[in-house]
Amino acid sequence: MPIDKIVPDVASAVAGMKDGDAIMISGFGFAGVPNDLIHGILDTGADDLTVISNNAGTGTEGLAALVGSGRVRRIICSYPRSRGSDQFDARYAAGEIELELVPQGTLSERMRAAGAGIGAFYTPTAVGTGLAEGKETRTIDGRDYVLEYPLHADIALVQGWRADRWGNVIYRKAARNFGPVMAMAARRTIVQVRDIAELGGLDPEAVVTPGIFVDRVVAIDSDREWDI
């Protein structure tokens, strides 16, 4: 039977969400955020979620809408507060959302470790700072390091640019950011793309996320500018 990871719509793409799931969401600022999939998650009604993303959402849609829904118990990110992060700021001030702040490079490296089967790694980032408090440290070749553990997720929502039925994905410009490493880290990876390529339509030298890391692909052919 031909491998076919393409699903017809957002509802099929996010089917199987459960309360309590940890969800990785691609994007950096407003670039590369899978807004349609995020609203798909909202529509499932899933609650008690952990969100893992670089930011915490701005404006009223996308990640901000998810955070504002009250269904996110905990967020793991590097930079929650930005111009327009009112939804997060209010929940945080009210003590309604837990925040785990992770240095940005450690955030993606922990994702890669999860995807790569690495049990833990030593990083020089954050040594001697408040973000290393309580963490194991070690001196290696005269330099100090902090021990960091893999960051797994139940689901990754990723915005790509084009994909084929095997789940091979290419991205567009700086919208690539966290997508490929989240695709490696999550147990189920769901990618929204602008359009579907024929199998063989993507250059095998230029595939960024090979299909082995992808479970479902949905095409969203829209120019909509979200309020994010």
């Binding site: 039977m1 491998i3 089967g117 690495i118 199998l199 299909g211």
Partner: protein, 231 residues
């Protein structure tokens, strides 16, 4: 002549072992084929399934061997055989090929073996002969990383000794990882309660198979004849 090489026993060839394993790979699987008998499976993949073969050197979607005039020195597999790329395949850097392996993204690795133990221990990387330099390649990564390990091997050594043993004598590749063993005589599952014979070649009795296998074997209730091309 040992009992298992009697004329009435329909022993499989190395190609047939590879083909039987290939037939049982679930549709849509991501699979690595190790050196030895497993490599032979590449050219006998069932045509009614889409199975994506992985090669450690950095290929996802390995296709069959090319015609001689189409060989490309930049397109070989980890066994250094000329291969092709399937439509839909991709090239990746070596470290990402091992992200796939170590990270548990491969559904299955088919590996060769010097010895397999009843508890799933695998020895397939060195005979320990100090005269020769050892080589490990990707064997330990595959054994530790793939979701399931199937071993494809002759049932006994050239000298007739069992390769399925109570405990490995040779240096281990990984502990407790083998899930299924395909030999020229049988298909055997490694389970928590012991080795279960799922398929045996025609003409073979459990007693004869047990005679060339160290650990105790149990016959599966639905044990069937091991033939190739039987789906």
């Amino acid at each position: 002549m040992s009992a298992v090489s009697e004329p009435g026993i329909a022993r499989l060839s190395r190609h047939q072992i590879a083909r039987r394993a290939a037939e049982l790979i679930p549709d849509g699987s991501y699979v690595n084929l190790g050196i030895g008998i497993p490599t032979l499976a590449a050219d006998v993949m069932p045509t009614d399934k889409e199975i994506v073969l992985h090669s450690e050197n950095g290929i996802l979607g390995v296709g069959p061997a090319p015609a001689e005039q189409d060989r490309d020195r930049d397109l070989i597999n980890a066994s250094k055989d000329y291969v092709t790329l399937l439509t839909g395949g991709a090239y990746v850097v070596h470290s990402d090929a091992f992200v796939m392996i170590r990270g548990g993204h491969l559904d299955l690795a088919l590996l060769g073996a010097f010895e397999v133990a009843a508890n799933g221990d695998l020895a397939n990387w060195t005979t320990g002969d100090k005269r020769f330099p050892p080589g490990v390649g990707g064997a330990m990564d595959l054994a530790a990383g793939a979701k399931a390990i199937w071993v494809l091997t002759d049932h006994v050594t050239k000298a007739g000794a069992p390769k399925i043993v109570n405990q490995c004598r040779l240096p281990l590749t990984a502990r407790g990882v083998v899930r299924r063993i395909f030999t020229d005589l049988a298909v055997i599952d490694v389970t928590e309660t012991g080795l279960v014979v799922r398929e045996m070649v025609s003409g073979l009795t459990l007693e004869a198979l047990q005679a060339v296998t160290e650990p105790a074997l149990v016959l599966a209730e639905d044990c069937r004849e091991l033939t190739v091309g039987s789906g």
